[in-house]
Symmetry: C2
Subunit: 236 residues, 2 copies
Amino acid sequence: MRPLALYWAIGEGPSAATAEAITGLKRGHRLLPARRTIYREGETADEIFTLFDGWAFRFKLMPDGRRQILSFLLPGDTISLPLLRFDRLHFSVQALTAVSLCVFDRAGLADYVSAHPTVARRLEVFFARDAADADERLADLGRRTARERVARLALQLFARLRRRSAVQDSSFDFPLRQQHIADALGLTAVHVSRVFHALRGEGLIVVERNRLTILDPRALMKAAAMRQSDLDSEMN
Amino acid sequence: MRPLALYWAIGEGPSAATAEAITGLKRGHRLLPARRTIYREGETADEIFTLFDGWAFRFKLMPDGRRQILSFLLPGDTISLPLLRFDRLHFSVQALTAVSLCVFDRAGLADYVSAHPTVARRLEVFFARDAADADERLADLGRRTARERVARLALQLFARLRRRSAVQDSSFDFPLRQQHIADALGLTAVHVSRVFHALRGEGLIVVERNRLTILDPRALMKAAAMRQSDLDSEMN
DNA sequence: CGAAGACTTGACGGCGGTCAACATTGGTGG
DNA sequence: CCACCAATGTTGACCGCCGTCAAGTCTTCG
């Protein structure tokens, strides 16, 4: 179920006609190496990207250098879709691994959406879901311990990758450095290391050679204070 | 500039026709006392509310009782607009003061929006802005100190209330209890008390008798690590 | 006026941050 | 293919911001 271009944002079952039309709007692919900045906060752009392959992340930088990672982007995720409605975005995006992007013409996509109310409505739902996701994370950062946050991140990535068939035997490629995890969860890299050490010591998860393995899903979900239904609602 | 009903969400300058049509969709007003639950997470509802007068807040409750306040709602804000697109919301809403709500028929509003692409597009922008706001707060909770968070909250409320002409002489009605501030900022009420004590000692702000006064805006913005442009972009 | 809620203040503790040294990994070029 | 160097991760010592607990004061409002 490798997602083609915008399907993820447009929703589950676009009609064949819609799919074809959107593919037609695609200007092409673009390959970028790891660590490359894909979009810089405040920039204008006449292209809109989606992530075809590889990992990336959205983040905000503060003047003094502090960084907050807002979300991790996986294959099929949109990267700069809000550019459809705004001239500038309030976050930056960076490639985590080497990535392949789908490139769309901003104006062309906007025209297409304007002309197709069904698609526009899906966009609306998409943005609303984005806000709901952010609210979920707010509760994580405001009211959860470091241990819960790390456990939850692992389970959320697991769930999202599983939908992309990128999980084998409860393990998956994991290109995040501990600094990324720290910046996403409001911690320091040193403390992330300690939490992983503890989780590993209890036999819950292992990270080695850029691969994360969930050894004891049941116990991990308990550490994350998550129920199955919480996991299932990780739709994206 | 008391906002009528949905104008806030629909945007700055709806046409007279639009305004009239939306007013026509309003089923009526509803008065609720302080502390009353307006919407409970996961409920279905055939009514959609906006806040006409008073303060409220959106929040999530965790099974063990921890609470995260997602945002404070001021007159003119929408309360449960995402119900247009979802059957259930992922947060609850509670009145902070006595409130007056505008009540809309969910299906009627949905029909109207479907029939008016211009309005639909404004909704889309509205949801996207919501997500951007949440991202902003993520950076607050993840990467700012308690002092910065409190200073920012004061300034953000100041800016939002000023647009509603609810500020006189740098002071405004302030019905929040310290527990609310704590639950919004990921702190404890005790620590919020200490931060206020410090800020007052430095002559930055005073809170007394349900009124907050900004004594030294310049210094407060410095404590908040905010620039004027940051404040201005508090659009809502 | 009484009671419940809200705020303040102090003592103490712990989660997580800081600093630093060292180990390990991985990328790069010779 | 190996050697080197930079990036990343680990570990320990120590610290401080903020949480917890509790007692006491102040507000608010019936």
